[in-house]
Subunit: 251 residues, 2 copies
DNA sequence: CAGTGGTCTAGACCACATC
DNA sequence: ATGTGGTCTAGACCACTGG
């Protein structure tokens, strides 16, 4: 069960994989299988080194990479924690890139309009790697910044993973959507791909965002992934950008 | 001249800085002062370790961070190179996030419309950390994807850093804008902040992009920085997003 | 104080590129 | 064969946290 050491490979170097990558894989599997839950600490580097029969430095390098991917969080003196969408604001803003233009940090309020059940269209099925016609849940909501409606959000989820998701359940929950998914359904969002466009507001959206139909809106399409690059959420946000904007860092 | 080792600090831990951070700082300064140029190799880890009187592992960690920031590029067996905006497509797409929606990778062609000299407005001065009224150069260009005009770009630069920038000089140059800045003016873009909005096309832009006035466009404002977080470029791109979009990865 | 992660070292060996 | 970066180890010590 322990990772095969590179030296043990007989042939010189066909598909060589470093030890720390193998450890990283094992850690990811433990996370995926729920051995440690979001917010909890994982065993110390020394313990993990003993478990996997490698040096502490090798475990360290594996954890370093997972920390760089925001899957684990290191805290000196305390331990290494499983990242969570719950808790403090810093981690919330990881997936929320819409800010006030003036730079003031402000958390939006979510207002759920509707929960609808339906079947995956061809497009949805492709994005979420489902079969066309499979059951999906669609959430429609509006995000208010300082009481003003700014984002019209449509969130599509595979029903299989979100059984028992109801409007009441969401309304009762305090915290972000991803926090809810994580705590109530065990679905943890690890990364996401986004595509941005400018579009004109249609009548329905214009009414909710209290703008004129035809107003340019920022369209943010997102596919969010859980462990193993499995897509588990399709989202389209339409955002008024008079006082707000989408921020991004290139490096 | 060598980095002060942490142990040498007398008091216990007021403002403790790890050795590898100090090495990183020294490497950054060498880059900034032009000791090594984009595309060139820097000395080997062993040589640098000898120069700074630290172990190879410490140099390694410093270089690792600079590589993670895309300032250096490691190539096993060959050496460590100063990152450049010239050369292959991979590094070009680091700062170019507008793609065809269908996923086909395609490089745009730049068509320079105008080079204008002027003075920094209050807003520009703030963004570029200049004094209002200081001289700036403004470039107006259009980017064509497959011959279709897609992006209307307005690029504002401090004249001090780009003396002798003329339309002819740009038209003659083959390669990206940042490649030109790097090779002709020694200004290297390290990172950038972007803000995205949706706006309506005005008459001027609509004509260049061959869309109806009022068409929603994606506005991408960018402030690009060189070493030491010095802002050296302000850019606003207006993009037609009928067949193109801005892609982003969250993690 | 003990336990955690963080730094630094020195040395061995591997993979890759080049001559 | 040589030199480069990449991996792995073992051990020492430092910084931070909490009992």
């Amino acid at each position: 069960m322990p990772a095969m050491k590179p030296g043990a490979v007989s042939s010189p170097s066909p598909s060589f994989q470093p030890l720390y990558q193998q450890i990283k894989e094992l850690l990811t599997q433990s996370l995926q299988h729920g051995e440690w839950h979001p917010g909890e600490t994982i065993p110390s580097e020394i313990d993990l080194a003993a478990r996997f029969q490698v040096s502490q430095g090798t475990v360290r390098k594996a954890i370093d990479e997972l920390a760089a991917e925001n899957i684990l969080v290191r805290r000196q003196g305390k331990g290494t924690f499983v990242a969570t969408h719950t808790e403090e604001t810093a981690s919330i803003f990881r997936f929320l890139r819409i800010r006030r233009c003036d730079g003031r940090e402000e958390m939006p309020e979510s207002r759920l309009l509707e929960v609808r059940r339906g079947k995956a269209t061809a497009e949805v099925a492709r994005a979420l790697q489902m079969k066309p016609g499979e059951a999906v849940v669609v959430l429609i909501r509006v995000l208010d910044y300082s009481g003003e409606p700014i984002i019209y959000d449509e969130i599509t989820l595979p029903s299989v993973l979100f059984k028992g998701l109801t409007k009441a359940k969401i309304d009762d929950y305090l915290g972000s959507m991803y926090s809810l998914f994580e705590t109530q359904f065990g679905v943890r969002m690890i990364r996401a791909d986004e595509r941005l466009r400018a579009i004109a507001a249609d009548a329905e959206v214009a009414r909710e965002l209290r703008v004129a139909p035809g107003t340019p809106l920022l369209s943010v399409e997102r596919i969010a992934f859980t462990y193993g690059d499995r897509p588990v959420e399709l989202r389209r946000g339409l955002c008024t950008t008079r006082q707000h904007c989408y921020v991004n860092q290139l490096s």
